[in-house]
Symmetry: D2
Subunit: 346 residues, 4 copies
């Protein structure tokens, strides 16, 4: 049994962490951090937690927190953790950071895309990018996990095998992504009001979204060179779910069966990645509430390109679920502990 | 470990049973019955079940089924179970019927509201109305459970204590109910198409909805006489959730604190009924995916009436969850086994 | 051709006024008032207006505005107009106030329910409650129109004839109302975020909603006495639309045909009120984008009560459309000018 | 004043035609054709039309219809019109076909993608592809209009200028399209039920959607050669709206201002195409209910590609509105007559 603290527990990702950890057999949540709701009962912020959580929201007393828990999840704005992390903290607790602070190894790239000065560059090197299906071994002994972004998780898992195997030209990759609205967070912004989002779809952050360099870095590792891709996110009128539709030029002639073999060889043993049957398209409704990523592909012979697709719950495998998966690996728990929710439909 | 069969496993309630039972420690699903999808893989009907259920949908071979399982759930159209139930079947397996066939004790009332001739009246007497918060003792030894309707569950649990304690005039009760669209089932009907339901709300079955006599019977038991109420359901553009707003004349002068005491006395020990704090209105988002019913009330001093409210997930506490709860009681499992899902938000 | 100014043109009701007035043959909008977006292009606030409105949002210079237009619409927060209205203004322009400032004749009632001190009580007397189907004659010569609230419009038109004809006991009326989310306005509040509203329904303002005394006053006129009713609004996950389901005790024995005759006698000549055919329930999808109110009813013989229903677009007949209808009457235009939109479905 | 007949008036596109034509000054609808609802009142099929349309749905008596109207709209399944069209019919009435029967000039391509034998090939040659912004002159004298598909309209208008001006490599085009659910029609299919579509997004028809060759043909005209593109549609949980996000390799070095000049030169005089301001992304909410297409683009310097975007209401500019626009041109009416609806938001 370990003790857990959550900084930023009242955002959507933080609340999802609470939902998942309440069902985790090895964990007690000791600290519900929140800047906005200090001293409020947690269930007053999230009514689903009534009679499940009696705790009160705590301010961000990192020193106190560090002495009382085994692992801290930071579901906080960019720059927050970078602004306070010290060797002393890391010597006492493990940290799983759901923000982007330690995801990108090249500080210049980070500072350019995020328009923030990085305040603790020295820890970037040791931080492990927490995508278990690719970095499981490194995660085991990490002190600091950079939990991947939602879009990068779905994109990387859907595309990685074909880049790694040299099937596609990595520089030709175009990712057209669609996300439910919980990805925009719980901030009170007009653009995220019900009437503004409902009955509409739009692209946003075209050519400028911060998840672009994160995806480029991960896929770059796969092909061994720096790459440039297009990544275009869209806002969809639904609560949860990410779908990515990715396009790339094929540089090896392969049949759909050949491709299937590649995906299977990467994911056969991966509980949370489901390679769908031939020509079944991933749909976000089939993964909602679960830690699964559903992936599949279709070859377009007419243009010699391949279309790769992935569907995932942005709050689970795209945030809180993956964070718990990382924790399980770090502490030697069963990797799927607390993450066996059957996708909820409808 | 017991073996379970589901007849009607490919409707929404049947699929929800599968979702819940896959997480139940004492149960193996042996039979996925379906009239519409015989010989299809279950996961081809419900993609969320990919890699979770490898079974194939079975025809309704009740004889074979009876010999192979300990309990049968029937999530079938009205009249189906009544048309085939025999003493032989009941001597071999327990049955939890999610249809209305055995809910109403007065056959005439059943036949009048359902416009169906009841084909096995002899079992109506022994069938137990499976609302554990009220009939727990009887459920323990029942062979045949009439699993309550969605609206009656939410309505009865919200109103029952005040009728039982003589606080309100039962004949003055008006229940204005609102349901998500999964309550309408998975039949291919124009009226349930996305574009027909989305961006609209309507009442339906006004003065004629079949759940009316079911609610009247249960509340009638509470006050010891036959009663007549108004029950008006509405279709809401959302997947899951029922909210009832009920109105009644107060016949005892009581403060809101007095009322609170009554509700608490009935539900303090009930894990799945949450009496909310003063003036917090139930909302369906806080119970989604869980077996909770949230109830509360407000006294309107100006008119000497009370407004009672209840929120619930129609597929869980309103159908599959309650069925599992009944099964747990019947087989001596922990009552909450398989039902501890934290409500999923957003 | 008259000139029009809108104060509060960047709220949802204000924008709907712009949509309707752009299609009105006798009107030019001269003033797009907005406190929040001064000096911004109107189309930057509402992208639908791109290439339709080139104007810039203006501050609230009431003096300048008064000299330049024939009529002012105020789609402003409670208390705003009351705080600045003068005889000088009213001597120069007509005002149609979409706020509640002049709707309630009894100042005490207003101040009690709105918790605001009324700053210009002297104009309450002359203000005309702008429900054309009831007050058409008075509207013709009014200088100041109190444009009815959304719920009161739908409720009053659905219930008024039966109160007026003594068919129902006005003090037994219970109105269970359901509204789309645009009724909550465009303010940046967490409670109105997409993920908070979507997939949920709740009651709010139970026993305390400010539209209660407004409805009571109007129905009180119909029966000639002060009445107390219950009014319970609910928030529905859709953009537009109000549905009210109202219940009352019948005090005259009448058949459904008799009731039909009464409704027809009140509304046969009313273009914007549609009395539906027997047992057809109003649905908000059939009135979306239009100025129609659809009304109907069902008698419940078992309880000797009647259920009255009304559906309407809250932003049209419930706000901007009714305001335009009032303007048309005041200026001698055809009453339906600019209001002939066919309801948009789906 | 001309007389109009609609075959297939009870589908979503047919109903939208009715909505638009009811507001058209030069037109009387004489014939509400429907195979499914013969002898039913039209308003019983679409409640919004209550008190607006008293007509009864007619069977498809093409001979009688031909003698009574000036123009026929066919909003019918593929192959229907091709199966009955004759020179006699075309000598008496003009036809605007909303199906795909005459859109594709190469019969082989049609028969391959639609898996239907074309029954009246002789008329394919004379049929004019009814995209007014490109084919206005030809439309004027046409007897038979092939009204473009929804996706092809949005795609072609968004991309055409850059292909025509040789800015992009037409064979590199990838169109990632997103559509509201009304595009799937009013058929009673499980896949289009509310609970199946709501809270989900998926791609469908990947590499096989029938609109692919239609777009290829139109863009092929622009560059003067046969081209192959990728077109991937997605189903979005909303009623109306299409958004396309298109990607292509730039083959001319141009600045964003240069591109702007090209778009402006094509669309400055086009009332229904709005080229948005710099870096404003099209959103379907801003065009809902109107005949507008909003287009824009962003250059991605990192990859030397351009991202083109277009938003449109699939039922208006994507079907019924464009059909009316074509009719206006054919009969010499003002091109925007009946089509000046301001986009309805929210």
């Amino acid at each position: 049994m370990i003790n857990v603290g959550i900084i930023g527990s009242t955002g959507y990702a933080g609340q999802e962490l609470v939902r998942l950890l309440l069902g985790h057999k090895e964990v007690t949540i000791q600290w519900y951090g929140s800047q906005s709701y200090i001293d409020k009962k947690y269930y007053e912020v999230y009514g689903n937690m009534f009679q499940l959580v009696e705790d009160i929201c705590q301010s961000d007393n990192i020193a106190e927190l560090t002495n009382n828990v085994d692992v801290i999840f930071t579901a906080t704005p960019q720059g927050y953790l970078a602004g306070l992390l010290t060797e002393d903290i890391l010597s006492k607790v493990k940290i799983i950071d759901l923000s982007a602070d330690y995801r990108i190894k090249d500080v210049k790239t980070y500072e350019e895309w995020y328009q923030i000065e990085h305040k603790s560059k020295s820890f970037i090197g040791e931080a492990v990018y927490g995508l278990p299906e690719i970095n499981r071994e490194k995660i085991k002994n990490a002190r600091l996990i950079a939990n991947p972004g939602c879009y990068p998780t779905c994109s990387t898992l859907s595309i990685y095998p074909l880049v790694k195997e040299g099937v596609i030209d990595a520089n030709s990759i175009i990712i057209d992504a669609k996300s439910g609205t919980s990805g925009a967070g719980r901030g009170a912004k007009i653009n995220n009001l019900y009437c503004e989002v409902n009955e509409s779809i739009k692209a946003y952050g075209v050519t400028t979204h911060r998840h672009t360099p994160e995806i480029e870095e991960q896929l770059g590792y796969a092909c061994g060179s720096n790459i440039s891709i297009i990544f275009t996110p869209h806002l969809v009128p639904m609560n949860r779910g990410i779908l990515i539709t990715a396009y790339a030029n094929m540089i090896k002639q392969m049949s759909e069966d050949d491709i299937k073999e590649i995906y299977d060889s990467y994911y056969k043993e991966e509980y949370f990645v489901r390679v769908l049957n031939s020509h079944v398209c991933p749909e976000t409704r089939w993964v909602k509430g679960s830690n699964y990523v559903d992936v599949n592909y279709t070859i377009d012979k007419r243009t010699n390109r391949i279309i790769m697709m992935g569907a995932m719950d942005n709050l689970v495998k795209g945030a809180a679920g993956q964070a718990v998966q990382n924790m399980n690996i770090m502490f030697g728990f069963k990797e799927s502990e607390g993450l066996l929710q059957v996708p909820m439909f409808p």
